[in-house]
């Protein structure tokens, strides 16, 4: 299986929102689409899903023009999208039916995912009888989407996306608005999907998460591709230019200034400095040792995805 986007162009009037985008996914795993707000990530995703037309280019699945309705596709949209007044179970069964999942199987999967995502109480009413049932009737009424928090709605939507056991999954900002506990829950599920050899396209602003899962990335800025490729290769191409230093007993700022190093971050935990490469880092360390400065921590590594992203597209605020 493979997904290939070739020279994709999308315009709204005179404005080009996706400009000559190409990438290929020919192995299972997560492919990341990154960019600032308005970069064209969601537009690209909608084109791939068949919701939007495009002006030129191709979107191919297994070498043929993609027909999203013929693929077993799962989609978690960026915005919350559930019927506000229908019961959650009815909606999930409906979505499963639209994906041609038999009812019995759908119920099994709903039960599994409800337990996995810890939303059982919203989907299933406790089995009570007699007086207790009558007393708790209102409390035990089936829940509707408008009664749920944003995070729980997101969980229900993730369930809807995965009910058909899709081969190709699109996750648009899957972790946005989640608390740390649920973030970990979602991450665990994404890892399982990767292990199950699913093809996943993910868009996100959370660079740390992307680094955890993604091998290949495309960074968009105002519709244009600014960086693309294997994440490890990209990082290696930058070299190990991030240096973390923590010293005791002496202020090392004069040393930093004398080496013309750029301070990226200064915290009680030390300095994060930009160096030109391993050679300069080595010289800096040698100088500290020579002057008998007590070095508590010294680390040299590649730039983070966040740093690469910021460098490529300018100052942004990470969510």
């Amino acid at each position: 299986m493979s997904l290939e986007v070739k020279n994709l162009v999308k315009k709204y009037g005179e404005k080009t929102v996706v400009n000559d985008l190409s990438f290929k996914m020919d192995k299972p795993g997560v492919y990341a689409l990154l960019g600032t707000n308005g970069a064209g990530k969601t537009t690209t995703i909608r084109i791939i899903l068949g919701m939007l037309s495009y002006d030129s280019g191709q979107v191919l699945w297994n070498g043929k023009d993609i027909d999203p309705m013929s693929i077993n596709l799962g989609y978690l949209a960026e915005e919350r999208g559930l019927y506000p007044k229908f019961t959650l179970m009815d909606q999930l069964l409906y979505f499963a039916k639209l994906k041609n999942v038999p009812k019995a199987l759908a119920k099994e999967r709903i039960k599994y995912w409800a337990e996995r995502l810890e939303v059982t109480e919203y989907l299933y009413q406790p089995v009570e009888t007699g007086k207790k049932k009558a007393l708790n009737k209102k409390k035990n009424k089936p829940k509707t989407a408008d009664q749920l928090s944003k995070g729980n709605q997101q969980k229900i939507q993730l369930m809807a996306a995965l009910l058909s056991d899709p081969e190709f999954i699109v996750l648009d900002e899957p972790l946005s608005g989640l608390d740390p506990v649920n973030t970990d829950l979602f991450k665990g599920i994404i890892k399982e999907l990767i292990e199950a050899n699913k093809y996943i396209i993910m868009s996100s602003h959370q660079m740390a998460t992307i680094e955890e899962f993604c091998k290949d990335i495309t960074i968009l800025n105002k519709g244009n591709v600014v960086l693309q490729g294997d994440l490890n290769d990209i990082k290696k191409s930058y070299g190990r230019v991030n240096m973390f230093v923590k010293c005791e007993g002496k202020d090392i700022k004069p040393y930093i200034e004398s080496f013309n190093l750029r301070i990226i971050n200064e915290t009680p935990d030390g300095y994060q400095l930009k160096v030109t490469g391993e050679a300069q880092a080595g010289q800096f360390l040698a100088k500290l040792v020579e002057d008998k400065v007590t070095v508590i921590k010294f680390e040299l590594r590649e730039p983070s995805l966040h740093e690469i992203f910021v460098e490529k597209v300018g100052d942004v605020h990470e969510e």
């Binding site: 909608r46 919701m51 027909d67 309705m69 919350r80 999208g81 009815d90 639209l98």
Partner: protein, 463 residues
């Protein structure tokens, strides 16, 4: 590759079931069923109480009542006269039993009468092959007094209601009487103009036909209003809640709107079907609670007006089926329009704005038909207007079902009307399929009608 309509059945089932489960639908259905169940007994009770009064008002316009019995050698006429004299509304009238030889003289008297005289001509034909087989009552009245038409109609309905009673008085518990009671009877009300010609209203609507047409109009109006509101509300809800994005990964927009329109039409038929069943139940309740002196079921006047055998003799299976077919076609056309209207906006708060197009079309259609019905009931000749009303696709769903039901439409006109409605439906489908895929994802200020047309011409934008 899936077609444009793949998944329509799933959308239909979900939309239908969710509507049926909704509180609003359950309450509406309960109200309609209650009305259906109680309408007849309550109307009969009120009708019985107020009957003589209502008759008295109109009866004031009637002068002398002449009864000419050409059926049973005067016996039926005598019996009828006795019963009429016992009715409070007519007891003060001069009621004269006329011999057959005096018929022509009385006819001329009634023609020229400025006092509101009427003539009841009773005939009986026992030849099974005859067109006039059975009893016939014709009430003649002159054209001098305008109010006499309604009074004559009312009087004719009264005479219909006492026909069996009159026969029962002549033949109490006899075989001959039972046989005569079983015969059909027809009644007519005919105006005699100044030169003695009878004026038969071929094209206009008499009271019974008017009421039936009005009921059909009301049903169509209610149904289309419900349909429009439901379809557009569902579309806007899906757009504003963004659930549309998920659904569109599984089905195409045309499947969505088609499924929803079909589901709403099914909901309407469910509601009306249950109401009709209640009404049938009401007939049984009415029959148990209220009986006439002869043991037959008492009915309120308006039911007798509507359910007279003359009116329903043209009824056939094909009439009923074609009526329902035109209803469905009309609902589909308006349903698609409602779907487009709903998709022209992005938020629930903007729905009123979006529904302007639908409301405008519906108001034009319904009110033109109401105007037509008001003029048609007076017997006025409106040839071109009649044709327009039957053929214009916005109007035809409101009038054609009733006209087909009553047999008031010629076969040619019927085919033309249905044909135009079918073509309109196909054109609507084509128009909607050209722009709906853009509209369903559209998010912004409510679109105007001109922009829709531009969009259709361009067929650009979203897939």
């Amino acid at each position: 590759m899936k077609s444009k309509f793949t998944g329509v059945w799933n959308v239909f089932k979900f939309s239908y079931i969710q509507t049926v489960k909704s509180k609003a639908f359950i309450i509406s259905t309960a109200i309609f069923m209650a009305i259906g169940l109680l309408a007849l007994p309550i109307s009969t009770a009120i009708s019985r109480a107020g009957k003589d009064e209502a008759q008295t008002d109109k009866a004031e316009h009637i002068g002398t009542i002449y009864v000419c019995d050409e059926a049973l050698d005067g016996k039926l006429g005598e019996s009828l006269v006795d019963i009429i004299k016992g009715n409070q509304a007519y007891s003060e009238k001069n009621i004269i039993l006329v011999k057959n030889d005096d018929y022509d003289k009385v006819f001329d008297t009634v023609k020229a009468s400025k006092n509101g005289d009427v003539l009841v001509d009773i005939k009986f034909d026992n030849s099974p092959t005859s067109m006039d087989y059975g009893f016939s009552y014709v009430v003649f009245y002159g054209e001098e007094i305008e109010e006499l038409e309604d009074a004559a109609d009312e009087f004719s309905m009264y005479v219909d209601s006492i026909h069996k009673e009159a026969l029962g008085k002549i033949f109490i518990s006899s075989q001959a009487g039972a046989e005569l009671v079983a015969y059909n009877y027809v009644s007519e009300v005919i105006m005699i103009d100044g030169v003695g010609n009878v004026v038969e209203d071929e094209t206009g609507l008499d009271m019974a036909q008017y009421w039936i047409t009005y009921v059909f109009l009301f049903v169509a109006l209610m149904g289309i209003t419900f349909l429009g509101t439901k379809v557009s509300d569902q579309i806007v809800t899906e757009k504003s809640s963004k659930v549309i994005e998920y659904i569109m990964t599984s089905i195409k927009p045309m499947a969505l709107i088609t499924g929803k329109v079909m589901a709403c039409i099914a909901n309407i038929f469910t509601l009306f079907g249950l109401s009709v069943i209640s009404f049938i139940g009401s007939i049984f309740i009415n029959g148990i609670c209220f009986k006439n002196a002869d043991g037959s079921m008492a009915m309120p006047g308006f039911i007798k007006t509507i359910a007279n055998e003359q009116l329903l003799e043209g009824l056939s299976f094909i009439n009923i089926v074609s009526s329902i077919f035109v209803f469905i076609l009309g609902f589909v056309v308006y349903g698609l329009l409602a779907g487009v209207s709903g998709a022209m906006v992005s938020k629930i708060e903007e729905m009123a704005e979006g529904m302007k197009l639908f409301s405008f079309a519906m108001i034009i259609g319904a009110y033109v038909v109401i105007a037509y019905m008001s003029t048609a009931s007076t017997g006025a000749e409106w040839g071109a207007f009649t044709n327009f009303v039957y053929l214009f696709p916005l109007c035809s769903p409101f009038i054609v079902p009733a006209s087909l039901f009553l047999g008031k439409m010629s076969v040619t006109m019927g085919f033309l009307s249905v044909g135009i409605l079918l073509v309109t439906m196909i054109v609507m489908l084509y128009f909607v399929s050209g722009i709906y895929e853009y509209l369903i994802y559209y998010s912004g200020a409510p679109l105007k009608f001109k922009e829709l047309i531009k969009l259709f011409r361009k067929k650009g934008g979203a897939k």
